[in-house]
């Protein structure tokens, strides 16, 4: 994991993403690709006034992004992380998808409410499925990304396995790794298989099993203060009805107090 794609855009989640991107790049001795996206205003009335207003709004957006860029690049220059800056215009999702081809991980927020941008949970979901790359979704209030204590939510599904495999470079840097198997139905592959796989990569995990509702249990563990981030499959289908629309993933994206490392 070396190539980190960081969304740079002036919004309420920027600081948290930026800090996480920096912390991640330092920990991995990786490279930060700062993708600065100027989002055009939503479609306006199709008359000459609409066109003028749209033009002004884009100019405003570009000024804001220019200021954002100046602030962030000044901070990057003081740090000793390798980085590059890419400017692009368009909606967030397609801009990120295009830039993601050679990314090893994409840093986003798990939620934020800035109108008129689309819901971040939707962007995360679409990117996970569309780009096939892992996403680090950080809470908007996060001030740092610590890598010491990892929690892995395991249900034996292909998405769970994909997240585990993608997270290995990070897990190798952890001091403590916990595999949480929530047995509210039968898992396709037991947590011991995951632990064996990890041990071949020199990562030693302890297995914890609990029963009960998956979302509630995982959120409880994530909120316990004992873990720095959570690894889980994003929008994997496990149980036909309940999980069909990624209920557990949506729930964690809405409520997790710690960053989420997701893969599909």
């Amino acid at each position: 994991m070396k190539n980190i794609l960081l969304l740079c855009h002036d919004d309420s989640g920027q600081e948290a993403r930026f800090q996480a991107g920096l912390d991640l790049a330092r920990a991995l001795q990786g490279h930060l690709t700062c993708l600065d996206v100027v989002v055009p205003p939503p479609a306006m009335v199709n008359d000459c006034f609409g066109a003028i207003v749209a033009g002004e709004m884009t100019a405003d957006a570009m000024t804001l992004e220019g200021q954002n860029r100046a602030r962030l690049t000044a901070r990057l220059a003081r740090d000793d992380v390798q980085w590059e800056w890419i400017d692009t215009r368009g909606n967030l999702e397609p801009a990120l998808a295009d830039a993601a081809a050679l990314a090893d991980v994409i840093v986003l927020n798990r939620e934020f409410d800035d109108y008129p941008l689309p819901d971040m949970a939707t962007i995360v979901g679409d990117l996970l499925v569309g780009s096939g790359k892992p996403v680090l979704a950080v809470p908007a209030q996060a001030t740092r990304f610590d890598i010491g204590r990892a929690l892995i939510a395991w249900d034996g599904s292909p998405a769970s396995a994909a997240a585990l495999r993608a997270a290995v470079p990070l897990l190798k840097l952890a001091e403590q790794v916990t595999l949480l198997e929530v047995t509210d139905g039968g898992v396709a592959a037991p947590a011991e298989d995951a632990a064996s796989y990890l041990s071949r990569h020199d990562v030693h995990a302890e297995v914890v099993r609990t029963a009960g509702d998956a979302s509630a249990t995982i959120i409880a563990h994530a909120s316990s203060g004992r873990f720095d981030y959570l690894v889980m499959g994003g929008f994997g289908h496990r149980r036909f009805v309940e999980r069909m629309f990624g209920g557990v993933t949506k729930s964690l994206l809405a409520h997790s107090p710690i960053p989420l490392f997701l893969a599909h």
Binding site: N3, A188, A189, R200, H264
Partner: protein, 269 residues
């Protein structure tokens, strides 16, 4: 890349598969899971043929039982961390199910002449359904050199990017890496970006551009692989849904049938 899966089955490609798998396991310091599949295809049965299906299954299982007796001592002697697993059923299904936490699956690229099992079809199925790259070995491959010269066939597509990322643990071992481009028009990701990406992972490739004369892209890649002495080719594979007639795109198809060296294939998910 620490968890490898190799198909064991009494067929013409087994020797090559096992040889390559062992070489790679040693080079990567990995663990090898040998999955022996008694292949029982899904047959449409009626009361006339159902007896036949049971007979086929018994034969296959007996044959694989014998295979295991022959091959297990070779694994013990090879002195690598390994595990032997027996399965019966549809070949692709068994492999996909076993490959949940696998980093690489070793199969053959094509056992031509209508040989059983159909490795060409299997490669397509696995590429679409498994979530890890495949190493597709020629049946004649002896002495596979995992740490030799890797040729990355780069066309700037998401498939090529996926293959490059998946291959990185092997590329880090390689003595030499060539990034080969053939057609540059409308290329989404230029080879220089691929080379920077490699650089961040500690790999320094050499970029070579080949100008097509009268050959197809597939023929050009195969020829360059020979001429440059590559030990394997890395490329994006586009497997299609089994219902579609063409299993692969033209370049992949050509190389699966004709590559002088093993292919490391991945699919962008």
């Amino acid at each position: 890349m620490k968890d490898l899966l190799v198909l064991m089955h009494h067929d013409h490609g087994q020797e090559a598969r096992l040889g390559a798998a062992l070489a790679l396991t040693r080079a990567l310091g990995a663990h090898l899971t040998c999955i022996d599949v008694a292949i029982v295809p899904e047959l449409v049965t009626d009361y006339v043929t159902s007896g036949g299906e049971a007979l086929l299954r018994d034969d296959e299982e007996r044959s694989e039982h014998e295979n295991r007796a022959r091959m297990l001592p070779r694994l013990i002697q090879a002195d690598v961390p390994y595990e032997w697993v027996d399965r019966t059923g549809d070949l692709a299904d068994c492999l996909v199910e076993a490959a949940g936490l696998t980093d690489l699956i070793i199969v053959n690229r094509d056992l031509s002449g209508g040989a059983f099992p159909d490795m060409y079809q299997l490669t397509g199925d696995l590429l679409m359904r498994a979530r890890c790259p495949l190493l597709a070995i020629s049946r004649d491959t002896k002495d596979f050199q995992p740490a030799g010269h890797a040729l990355v066939a780069w066309d700037g597509s998401p498939g090529a990017a996926a293959a490059l990322r998946a291959a990185m643990p092997m590329l880090r071992l390689a003595r030499h890496v060539t990034l080969l481009t053939v057609e540059m028009d409308r290329m989404k990701l230029m080879p220089e970006r691929a080379a920077s990406y490699c650089g961040r992972h500690g790999v320094q490739p050499v970029i070579r551009h080949h100008i097509l004369r009268r050959e197809s892209i597939g023929e050009a890649v195969a020829a360059r692989a020979s001429v440059l002495g590559a030990d394997y080719v890395v490329m994006g594979g586009y497997g299609h849904h089994p219902v579609r007639e063409a299993l692969f795109g033209g370049v992949t198809r050509h190389l699966l049938r004709n590559s002088p060296v093993p292919l490391l294939l991945a699919h962008p998910h």
